[in-house]
């Protein structure tokens, strides 16, 4: 069962990489900077792991590491999405 679950994860990983390649090759050069800041925000999804660590019942080293990780990931999420929106707002057609 363990092996099966792991294999499913590898499966998901491989397919997601292909989806990523397909989608991102279609992004025009004009949008490459917002793409980078936006994908940075998405990589802030590590916040999920950070919350699971920071929210432990007992206060241990894991909680401290989780606390810092929540702060780091949240900078990514908030900073990334807001700065991307700030940039995209400026893109106007004539």
């Amino acid at each position: 069962m363990e092996e099966y679950l792991f294999l499913m994860q590898v499966y998901v990983f491989a397919l997601a990489i292909f989806v990523g390649f397909e989608l991102i090759t279609k992004v025009p050069p004009t949008l490459h900077t917002p793409l980078m800041s936006g994908s940075n925000a998405i990589s802030g999804i590590t916040i999920v792991g950070a919350i699971l660590s920071a929210g432990l019942e007992q206060f241990t080293i894991s909680t401290i590491l989780g606390l810092i990780a929540v702060a780091f990931a949240m900078i990514n999420v908030v900073g990334g999405f807001l700065v991307t929106d700030r940039m995209l707002k400026m893109f106007k057609k004539k």
Binding site: L35, S37, I51, M74, I75, N76, K94
Partner: protein, 470 residues
């Protein structure tokens, strides 16, 4: 409950994918960003409902600190500082992955903080994922901080060489992999896990330090990719598919952008990572004796205004020098003025015109230049032949024809904008000095080239006034 949380993760993953899909067009890009943000909100909300999460004060404290810092960064960073900001964000992403992996290791260890005497059984796949998270996340964290420092001017932008650079780095990577393998087999080696983390952090510094300032667009893109892959690895540690998917999307994005940047500079990734342009810099000083000589013709604002009064098509080639000189608003005024006179004006953007992929487009968008006037190199390079005037502002190496024919030039083979094919090329520069790659530009000596000397902002403002006075 578990099912509800998993379904929310699925919806969130779909929103990420849709978000990136909509980022594919300027018309829908804002919507795409919003979709991704909603996806993130859902993922965070679902995680807070997880039965593992029992105390909220640390999450709230960490979340508040991060949100405030992110908010300030997002609104205080000038558009010229975007590469630094993205570099910093890459770093925090990688740092978060490292911290989560470390935290998971301690969580899974039954003998920490109290020694229970129980055997520590770590499944091989989780052990490998923890080690890779630590390695990639650690490199991304410190590497990005060095990249930030280089772009911000806090760390030297020069290619830094140190003794035994390559053997040392190879040795450290091998050490991490070897020690990592040992930890996977004997998970209770806590000290070794900490050493692996420390060595990974040191590796980040050692790997990015040798990369020159001119190569930062590549380094930033590569670190962007690393931050995604580190996130995926954390997904494997947690057994969470959404992290795996989101990380893979970001990883793919970074790799594609890295590839585009490398091609635009005609460099192999290996060459950039190993700090290769140093040799080019020294070669150029010796080859300066063979550098092009001849007459350089210059033009002043009044003459240029008259010249532009009689043309029908103009292409503007902006370089980073324009952004440094804060001339983009004056350039926009110039373009508006010319268009009023019925001149067809377009912008030609070289992929490495800014300091990161697409940077120049953002800088021009900020100056309210419509994005449909901006053309990528491959879309406009055939049009220079039938263009009356090209105005090069603050760009140098990307318009150097030597890249096409001079095999001894360090930039030989680099794709360039064919500005010399136009009837007249106006080059606005402060002086005749060499470009970023440290080489002279033969374009300045071409018969159809005219130098328009001066600070880019002053020069453009003067030109606008002259045209108005005609």
């Amino acid at each position: 409950m578990i099912i509800a949380i998993e379904i929310t993760y699925l919806i969130s993953s779909i929103l990420f994918i849709l978000g990136i899909k909509y980022l594919g067009s300027p018309k829908t890009a804002r919507k795409g960003n919003l979709y991704a943000a909603i996806g993130m909100f859902l993922a965070i909300a679902a995680t807070l409902l997880d039965q593992q999460v029992l105390t909220f004060e640390w999450i709230i404290i960490g979340g508040l600190i991060g949100s405030i810092a992110g908010l300030i960064m997002a609104y205080k960073t000038p558009m010229t500082g975007m590469p630094q900001m993205v570099g910093m964000l890459n770093g925090f992403g990688g740092g978060a992955s490292t911290l989560v992996a470390l935290s998971e290791y301690f969580k899974k260890n039954p003998n920490y903080p109290v020694d229970t005497g129980m055997p520590f059984n770590l499944p091989v796949n989780e052990g490998v994922a923890i080690i890779l998270s630590l390695l990639i996340g650690g490199i991304t964290f410190t590497g990005s901080m060095i990249a930030f420092g280089k772009l911000q001017g806090l760390v030297t932008g020069k290619v830094v060489k140190y003794p035994l650079q390559h053997p040392l780095n190879a040795l450290l990577v091998l050490f991490v992999l070897g020690a990592g393998g040992y930890v996977v087999m004997f998970p209770s080696m806590m000290a070794l896990v900490l050493v692996i983390t420390a060595v990974s952090l040191i590796l980040g510094v050692l790997l990015v330090l040798p990369i020159g300032g001119a190569d930062m667009p590549v380094a930033i893109s590569l670190l962007n990719s690393y931050s995604g892959i580190a996130g995926s690895m954390t997904g494997f540690v947690l057994g969470n598919n959404e992290l795996i998917i989101a990380g893979a999307l970001v990883g793919a994005s970074g790799i594609i952008l890295t590839n585009i940047m490398c091609k635009a500079m005609n460099r192999s990734l290996m060459n950039v990572v190993l700090g290769g342009w140093a040799n080019a810099g020294s070669a150029s000083t010796t080859s300066s004796t063979t550098s092009p000589k001849g007459d350089v013709k210059s033009i002043d604002a009044e003459e240029l205004a008259m010249l532009l009064d009689s043309v029908s098509s103009v292409i503007v080639v902006p370089g980073y020098g324009m952004a440094v000189g804060q001339a983009q608003h004056a350039v926009r005024d110039l373009v508006n003025l010319l268009e009023k006179k019925g001149v067809k004006v377009r912008f030609a953007i070289h992929p490495v015109a800014g300091r990161m992929p697409g940077h120049m487009n953002v800088l021009l968008a900020e100056a309210q230049v419509p994005y449909d006037k901006l053309y990528a190199m491959e879309d406009i390079n055939d049009d220079f032949n039938n263009t009356d005037v090209v105005i090069v502002i603050g760009a140098n190496d990307v318009v150097n024809p030597a890249a096409r024919h001079d095999q001894s030039s360090p930039i030989f083979g680099m794709p360039i904008l064919n500005v010399d094919y136009a009837k007249t090329v106006i080059i606005n520069k402060r002086s005749m000095s060499a470009g970023y790659a440290g080489i002279d530009n033969e374009l300045f000596f071409y018969p159809n080239a005219l130098m328009y000397f001066g600070d880019s902002k002053d020069a453009m403002t003067k030109l606008v006034n002259e045209i108005k006075n005609l």
